[in-house]
């Protein structure tokens, strides 16, 4: 058997790699194994990457939740409706399958994000210019609606009417922009 890497030296190392359930037979010589970093695996260690670490972190999360009196017994089986990735698969790979996963696994997300991003769970950076326009408006509208509620509760009807008018005009602008996007 000749080494599958250099096609020169005899293959002295034979082993089977299983990555993400995919099985690969590897037959290489010692020199190539060293160069490719396969020796770590041969020596019984693991190729170590951020994903291993991350998967470890995520796993802890699900372990804790499970021991917590099985409050969420079905978390592991929960599947994303868009890409069909299960929470278990997400934990195993350390990767989401699609943008929708963020909504699907939202309940599990905060502790994970806190751990990875030093306690942060919300974005405060850039907003995309084009699609961000409506996000900004929507945020303004929801903020104003809160203000409106407070005014009504405190029976400040004049102020409430003012705010209501503002909300209406913003909503009109919002609808116009949304409609424009779809065209």
């Amino acid at each position: 058997m000749i080494c599958q890497e250099c096609h020169q030296r005899p293959a002295t190392l034979h082993f089977t790699k299983i990555i993400n359930g995919k099985k690969t037979e590897v037959m290489i010589c010692e020199k190539c194994a060293q160069e490719k970093g396969e020796m770590a695996m041969v020596a019984g260690g693991h190729g170590f990457s951020i994903n291993n670490l991350l998967a470890g972190l995520l796993n802890i999360e699900s372990n804790i939740q499970q021991t917590k009196a099985n409050a969420f017994p079905k978390t592991e089986e929960k599947r994303c409706p868009h890409c069909h990735r299960s929470y278990k698969e997400f934990v195993h790979l350390g990767k989401f399958g699609c943008a929708e996963c963020y909504k699907t696994f939202n309940d599990q997300l905060n502790p994970i994000l806190k751990r990875v991003h030093s306690g942060n769970i919300a974005h405060i950076g850039k907003i995309p210019k084009r699609i961000g326009g409506t996000i900004y408006l929507r945020k303004q509208i929801s903020d104003l609606k809160e203000v409106l509620k407070i005014h009504i509760n405190q029976e400040e009807f004049e102020k409430a009417a003012e705010v209501r008018d503002k909300v209406r005009s913003l909503e009109k602008r919002y609808e116009a922009q949304e409609g424009g996007d779809e065209l």
Binding site: G97, A99, H117, H123, K126
Partner: protein, 358 residues
Amino acid sequence: MSLEKFVENALSSWMSAEGPEIDIVLSSRIRLARNFKDFTFPTSFSNEEAKEIIELVKKRIEEEVTPEIGKLELLEIDQIQPLEKRVLVEKHLISPHLVDESAKGACLLSENEEISIMINEEDHLRIQCLMSGLQLKETLKLANVLDDWIEESIDYAYDEERGYLTSCPTNVGTGLRASVMMHLPGLVLTQQMNQIIPAINQLGLVVRGIYGEGSQALGNIFQISNQITLGKSERDIVEDLTSVVQQIIAQERSARDALVKTSHIQLEDRVYRSYGILSNARVIETKEATTCISDVRLGIDLGYIKNISKSILNELMILTQSGFLQKYAGGPLRSHERDIRRAALIRERLNFTETSSS
């Protein structure tokens, strides 16, 4: 497609512009991770989706390119020879991951190789900009121009609360990874690196040697980057990193000064020995070459060696890696053949710079 020019030269043309703090900071890099709305992420998408994404990007470059960006070349990875892929990886233009997922991947490169946009890597887009020296702010500005240009016609996966959605939760929010490549022989020689690395880690930044493992960085080259992408604005990320880098620069300078003061002749000896090895060796392994190149570069910075350009470090570091050597040889080489080839190439390069500058 003109792949040739990207794999012919080890030195990307942005490298020859000498950026600020070039004696210590080799390069600044900004990477933005972006995904397209309504598409599955590359970890689980179909070949059709992959093609559609490449088509969308293709359409965008055909549509319009702003003068700030210039011309971008689209390369489809599965149409590139293995050796040439390796060369692109060694130049840091594409990642090993993109090569592994060749069938679905592509990249956009600018003429001077300052811009490289990977398509269908871990995320649909990885916008990457590289500049010489310490220029994180400028690099971020360029990356933002590219980002806005793409966003004009393509909807990104973006969430009000979480920001830009990425395949890996470690990138969500800004999707921004800012990093600088630093040459720190002074701190290594004075054995300060072991104290500095944990201190930097505590600030939410990551340090790693780019060649070799752990703190034993081959060639004394370290990459420092931000870890946190969520809950911090792009500007803060870049400013924080810049200020830490500036402190490291100051420490490296004082370490170099101290070395010159206390052991000037030993240092000069070390530099010239390494120079001697590089200009005379007939067989040289990567490890030895990398160490010697670092010494020679330090010698240039300290003024011991005058007739060689600073960019020699960047160039030789890339040129002496196995992909490049084999590309120059025109085919695969065995490891001892590579060592011979490497020695010859280094001699040739040093000789060339000496004669051309004198």
